[in-house]
């Protein structure tokens, strides 16, 4: 079955959902090997860009990824932070499959986590979801 990235009808006016769904579609077109990563991901992830006052949920269902408006149900993984940090998540520098601690974007994100500006809930159980999301959305 083909892999599809869909926007829930209620998410059409959510800019963050539109952005991330478009990014995911274009990234898997550019890097077809990432389809396999996305297909293996299971669970619900929520992202809340607090200063932009926008939140989304992303359901990873194997053949389908569904972007929804707002935080729906109890997510397996929740990322809360400023819009800058949320935007930088796809610009994390990687060495192979792991984040490069020397990269300037990563250093800024780690500092934001230490300062409480970026918070990730659901770890370590949802670590595979977080790492998979990073791999699929990576743009650098």
């Amino acid at each position: 079955m083909a892999f599809v990235v869909e926007l829930d009808p209620g998410a059409e006016d959510n800019g963050l959902a539109n952005m991330l769904a478009t990014m995911m579609r274009q990234n898997v077109e550019d890097h077809p090997e990432r389809v396999d990563i996305a297909k293996k991901m299971r669970g619900r992830m929520a992202i809340f860009a607090e200063d932009a006052e926008v939140s989304i949920s992303i359901d990873f269902e194997g053949e389908r990824v569904l972007f929804r408006d707002g935080i729906v149900g109890v997510p397996d993984l929740t990322i809360r932070g400023g819009f800058e940090q949320i935007g930088d998540l796809s610009r994390m520098e990687q060495v192979g499959a792991v984040p490069d601690p020397r990269g300037p974007v990563n250093r800024a994100l780690f500092a934001a986590m230490r300062e409480g500006k970026l918070r990730v809930h659901g770890l370590p159980r949802a670590l595979p979801l977080l790492l998979g999301f990073g791999d699929v959305m990576h743009v650098a």
Partner: protein
Amino acid sequence: MSIKFPSPEWTQAFADAVNANAGYREAGKGWTHGKVAYVLKADPRIGTTEDMAMVLDLHQGQCRGATYVPATEAQSSDFVIVAEYPRWKEVLSGEVDPTKAMMQNKLKLEKGHLPTIVKFVVASKELVKSATAIQTDFPAV
């Protein structure tokens, strides 16, 4: 003297401001992805009866040219970003960050490769910073 927005004069001033911005020169030096069109939806309150576009020909940290044209003539641009006048005013005056505006659905990428925009997010911010350097007459609506 303030320059009226939107207008051909303002668009040229934008190009000049981009070329005067050392931050953009550095952040945009890897940009080889073509023209960017900023489309303003028609708004009779500011005298635009059709959608208009400011098209910037960006290349390796420089703006090689800029035109103010009907949006229909800007569709061949590699990137097309669309918004209503009040939203452009917020972004180009520095009140609202462009990434935040996209997350809030105030700016919409109608055409173009979003991962490339995200990769050049610092350059995008510097473009907007260039615009804030222009003494602009934003019509009140």
